[in-house]
Symmetry: C2
Subunit: 78 residues, 2 copies
């Protein structure tokens, strides 16, 4: 079974770079990648926060949040 | 040809989590992953700094540095 990985972003330049270089680099044979734009999917901000996301871009996988560089704080996306 | 990806760390708990969950998740069909422990490979600290690494753990790929959460500043590893 594949592991779920969610990449949260907000369309910022730092986010786009992380998506293009890190998120899409995950092994598709082992990971199911979902990409969520929190600027447009506002309803999912609380889900991201519950998963430990404090800023975007971030990858949530294996039960933990991995913040990749810093684009924007989650609080500005609420 | 595979893209080179270098994961720099210092053996810290944050580093270990990022290595186990993000670095090893990269697609081995597309990426050649090298894992460098800057606590033991001091000679490579300057190489990491030149690549833009400001803290560990960090992934350098596609010509840019992607800091994953924060374990330690690069300056304490010099």
């Amino acid at each position: 079974m594949k592991t779920k990985a969610i990449f949260y972003h907000a369309g910022c330049p730092v986010c786009v770079a992380a998506e293009r270089n890190v998120a899409v680099a995950l092994d598709p044979a082992r990971y199911d990648l979902e990409i969520v734009h929190l600027g447009t999917a506002k309803a999912r901000v609380s889900e991201a926060e519950k998963a430990g996301v404090k800023s975007v871009p971030a990858l949530v996988m294996g039960g933990a949040a991995y913040h990749i560089n810093f684009g924007a704080g989650i609080e500005v996306l609420r």
